[in-house]
Each structure stands twice: as structure tokens, then as C-alpha cells.
């Protein structure tokens, strides 16, 4: 166990001394994955809502595609995005491979199906009677939409957590399209791969602890939202 003791004392010293390298990597991770999650919500929430709430031809097919997209292997996303933005690829003229925007693009592609699928599931779980009743009481389409989203809010929070969780811990795609460039596209996961490969277990373990803390924090916040909402609902009834 000495290896863990040594690595941890080194890693802890780096964290509390505010060692620029480690915290800069953490900042990059949060910035890139946070941006990708926001964009994924902008696309995934409306599309997931439409598929979940409306009845139309091909709805089933759309749901199948979203659910399949949730299992999309990130390395496949990484490969296709890397080829697309490579100099010889169709979007090579943009010179984006190994830059931050292309990391966000790859993470967005991974997160969007997750957000869509969870949103659609949450929205379709809202009882149809409720919307029919609202409509009969004279609510317009916008009011009904707001009501459905409000009823489905727990599921929507799960969509945020699911999307963010899927990309903050991902390593394959971000390595392939970002290139782990120091101070630029180096994120927690790719840095951990590099440090482990070099036998620098101290900074690797420090990043592992921060990554775990972020994942747990996100889930605590979400659980907090859920329980306070349950509480509110129970009190209102």
C-alpha cells in the first residue's frame, strides 16, 4: 500500500499548494465539458421534448435512434470527428483538429443523444390526462408545454447530469481529437492517462480525487433538487 501513501502525499501537496498545472487541467475539463453540456441541452431538450410529448409517424424510430445513440462508443465519435477535421478531411480547411472547439464538438455529439433520450423518457412519463385536462381548461400550447416540462423536471435534471457525466469522465474521444496539449486541450482524464504512463502517480491520483469529487458533487446537487422537489410536492398536496 506504500505506493498509495506516497502518491497521495505528493498529490495532496499539489492540490493544497494550488499547483498551477493540476488546477489548470481541472479548469479546462470543467470549461470544455460544461460548454458541451450547455450546447447539448440547447439541442437535446427541444428535440427530446417533441419526441416525448408529440405523437407522430416515425416517433418510435426516433426513440430507437436516441437510445442507440446513448450507447454510441466515444472512440467511434472520436475517430469520425478526427477524420472529419483532419487536414485531408471534409472540414480540414477549418484547422480545428487538436483545438478546444473540436473537443467541445466531439463531447457534444456524445452528450446530445443522452440528453435527448432522458428528456424524451421524462416527458412521455407525464400522464396524458394531465395535458388533456389543461387543454380542456383552455391552456394554450405554450402553457401546456411549460406544464409538461415542469412535471418532468426531475427527468430533465437527470438529463443534465447524464450529459455532463458522460463527457467529464470520457477519455478516448477527447484524446483523439484534442491531443492532450498542455495548457490547451489537456483535461483530467487524458492527463491521468499520461501521468500514469509516466509513472507520476502523485498528480494522477490528485486528478482522480478531484474528478471523483466533481462527479459526487453533481449527483449531490441533483439529489438535493429531487428531494426538495419531492418535499414541495408532498407539502402542496
Amino acid at each position: 500500500m506504500q505506493i498509495f501513501v506516497d502518491a497521495w502525499s505528493e498529490g495532496w501537496a499539489m492540490l493544497i499548494s494550488g499547483s498551477v498545472g493540476v488546477w489548470q487541467i481541472v479548469g479546462t475539463s470543467i470549461l470544455l465539458s460544461g460548454t458541451a453540456t450547455l450546447l447539448a441541452l440547447l439541442i437535446g431538450l427541444p428535440v427530446g421534448y417533441l419526441v416525448g410529448a408529440k405523437r407522430f409517424l416515425g416517433r418510435r424510430a426516433a426513440l430507437v435512434i436516441f437510445n442507440a445513440g446513448m450507447g454510441l462508443p466515444p472512440t467511434v465519435v472520436g475517430l469520425v470527428v478526427a477524420m472529419t477535421f483532419s487536414r485531408r478531411g471534409p472540414l480540414g480547411f477549418m484547422n480545428l483538429l487538436y483545438t478546444r472547439p473540436v473537443v467541445v464538438i466531439a463531447q457534444l455529439i456524445i452528450a446530445v443523444p443522452v440528453v435527448m433520450a432522458i428528456t424524451a423518457a421524462a416527458v412521455s412519463a407525464v400522464p396524458r390526462d394531465l395535458t388533456l385536462q389543461a387543454r380542456s381548461l383552455g391552456a394554450g400550447a405554450l402553457r401546456v408545454g411549460a406544464l409538461i416540462l415542469s412535471e418532468a423536471r426531475m427527468g430533465l435534471l437527470a438529463a443534465v447530469a447524464g450529459g455532463f457525466g458522460a463527457i467529464i469522465s470520457e477519455v478516448g474521444a477527447v484524446q483523439m481529437v484534442g491531443g492532450n496539449l498542455e495548457g490547451d486541450t489537456r483535461v483530467m482524464t487524458t492527463a491521468m492517462v499520461q501521468f500514469t504512463r509516466q509513472g507520476d502517480y502523485g498528480p494522477a491520483l490528485a486528478l482522480a480525487v478531484v474528478l471523483m469529487a466533481i462527479v459526487i458533487f453533481v449527483n449531490i446537487v441533483l439529489t438535493g433538487f429531487q428531494t426538495s422537489a419531492d418535499h414541495w410536492e408532498a407539502g402542496a398536496r
Binding site: 506504500q2 505506493i3 484547422n95 487538436y98 484524446q175 491531443g179 492532450n180 498542455e182 504512463r197 509516466q198
Partner: protein, 280 residues
């Protein structure tokens, strides 16, 4: 420590099985060779390992291709049986620190500096590496060139840092020097980044020749310099899991037979030797 316990328990589990199935074989078949990504990426192991396994059918070689720095660490923790690395100064320190007893020269190859075909820093025609590194730094500061570093403590990375130092340039860092990019990855990935970013990088000739077709934007801008030579050494790790196997590999790689394999590697495919055998 944990790794050692794991290895020990694994050995403990597998031993009864092997002794009951093949009683004549007391030797452990797996030899763990820690070596560099350059030897792996150039394809040398693709011919060298099968030749060794033919000469010593009782052994199976498992290659761990990492930077020279990490390979030495694997030796230090006895997670490898034998090392084939190219960081002579670090290797001698490894011996001095008592982690191994002997180190033998095996072969050398050379590095080349590659860069964008337009050569914005004007490295082509530099008299030596000092002039080349100064030209890259100057163009980099002017925003006309980028240098991609391995940044992974590998033998290639160590060599690159030596070249800056020899040119009187303080070690560049991505934080202070916008023209200096560090990938923290292997030779192949780093060369790919250099190609995509139209940048300069230091690369061993073997990896360059095997990858040149995939790096259409790059060409050699400086080569055949004494400062670019790269010596490989073999080190047997004492008291490793399979020290006998490691010793067999080390003895074989400096033998006339293996040295011939090394000298012939790449000649048919690239029309030139990639590694020059020089075991004594």
C-alpha cells in the same frame, strides 16, 4: 508494492497449473520487455521478437512500449524483466543507484528534425542543431513557427531538451512560450499533431520513415548531425519475476545473429538501415 503483491499472487496461482500440465518446463515463459514507443512504432520489434522466440522457443516476449523514463521506472519496480531504452545518462544513473548491474550497447539510430514543407523558420541548411533550434525559437517568437514536444520524459523528449540546452536556450514551456506545444503522448501521436498544426518536431528516423506517408505536410529539415545520434542500451533487471528470461533476451540481442537482424531491418522496405547495430 501492491503490484509486487499482485504479481506474486498471480505467480502463486499459475504455478501449480503449469507444473501439472508440463512437468519438463520449470521456466516461466513470459518475458516482459519494457521499451520505447520509437522501437515499437518503427516496426523493429515486429521482426526482432519473432526471431528471438524462434531462437528461444521456451520464452514469450511481452512488450510494454512506453517512454524511456517510464521504462526505467518499470525496471525500478521490477515490473519488467529487461529494458531496451535510449537515455544513456538516465541509464547510467539507474546503474549507479543500484537498480541493475550491467548495461550493454545494442544499436543506435538517429533523430531527424521534421517541419512544414514551406520551412517558415528557415531550418534547412542550418550548419548544426544549435543553429536549427535558434532559428525555430526565433520564428516561434515571431509567431511564424510552432514546435511540438513529446513532453513525456521519453528518450526522445530528453534528447530534445538537450538540444535546447546545447543551443543556450532556456527550456521552453507551453505556459511561457506560445509557440511551444507539449503533447504528453507517444511519437506517432506527436508527429500527427505536428502534421496537423504545420509545426516542427524531433522524431527518430525509424518512426519517421514508417509514418511519412501519413504525414503529408512534413519533411526532413535537418538530419545527419552528430548531436542527433541515439544510442540504445539493454539492461537486465535483477531479481525480477523472470530474470532468466530477461538475461536470455539481453544475451541474444547482442549476439551476432540478432545484430544481423537489426542491421537488415528496413533495408528492403525503405532502402536504408534504420538501426545500426553496435554491440561490443
Amino acid at each position: 508494492m501492491l503490484a509486487a503483491v499482485l504479481l506474486f499472487s498471480m505467480a502463486g496461482c499459475s504455478k501449480p497449473a503449469t507444473s501439472s500440465t508440463s512437468a519438463e518446463k520449470a521456466v516461466s515463459p513470459e518475458v516482459i520487455l519494457a521499451s520505447t514507443t520509437s522501437t515499437q512504432d518503427s516496426g523493429l520489434f515486429g521482426v526482432l521478437i519473432p526471431a528471438f522466440e524462434k531462437a528461444y522457443p521456451q520464452y514469450k516476449v511481452k512488450v510494454i512500449a512506453v517512454g524511456s523514463g517510464e521504462a526505467l521506472k518499470l525496471g525500478q519496480s521490477k515490473d519488467a524483466d529487461v529494458l531496451l531504452v535510449h537515455s544513456p545518462a538516465a541509464e547510467l544513473k539507474f546503474l549507479a543507484d543500484g537498480y541493475a548491474k550491467t548495461r550493454q550497447d545494442v544499436m543506435f539510430n538517429d533523430f531527424v528534425i521534421v517541419g512544414p514543407k514551406a520551412d517558415p523558420a528557415g531550418v534547412k541548411g542550418s550548419a548544426d542543431t544549435t543553429a536549427a533550434m535558434l532559428a525555430i525559437q526565433k520564428a516561434g517568437k515571431a509567431g511564424k513557427a510552432t514546435f511540438i514536444s513529446r513532453g513525456d520524459k521519453s528518450g526522445t523528449n530528453t534528447k530534445e531538451l538537450t538540444l535546447w540546452a546545447k543551443s543556450g536556450i532556456a527550456t521552453p514551456t507551453p505556459a511561457a512560450d506560445t509557440w511551444y506545444v507539449s503533447t504528453g503522448q507517444g511519437m506517432g501521436e506527436t508527429a500527427k499533431v505536428a502534421d496537423e498544426k504545420s509545426a516542427y518536431t524531433l522524431i527518430d528516423r525509424g518512426t519517421w520513415l514508417s509514418m511519412a506517408a501519413q504525414l503529408p505536410g512534413l519533411e526532413i529539415v535537418l538530419e545527419k548531425q552528430k548531436a542527433l545520434l541515439n544510442q540504445y542500451g539493454v539492461i537486465v533487471i535483477p531479481e525480477s519475476k523472470n530474470q532468466a528470461g530477461g538475461q536470455a533476451f539481453a544475451d541474444w540481442i547482442v549476439s551476432a545473429e540478432a545484430q544481423k537482424v537489426i542491421g537488415e531491418f528496413g533495408v528492403a522496405k525503405y532502402g536504408q538501415q534504420l538501426f545500426i547495430p553496435n554491440a561490443k
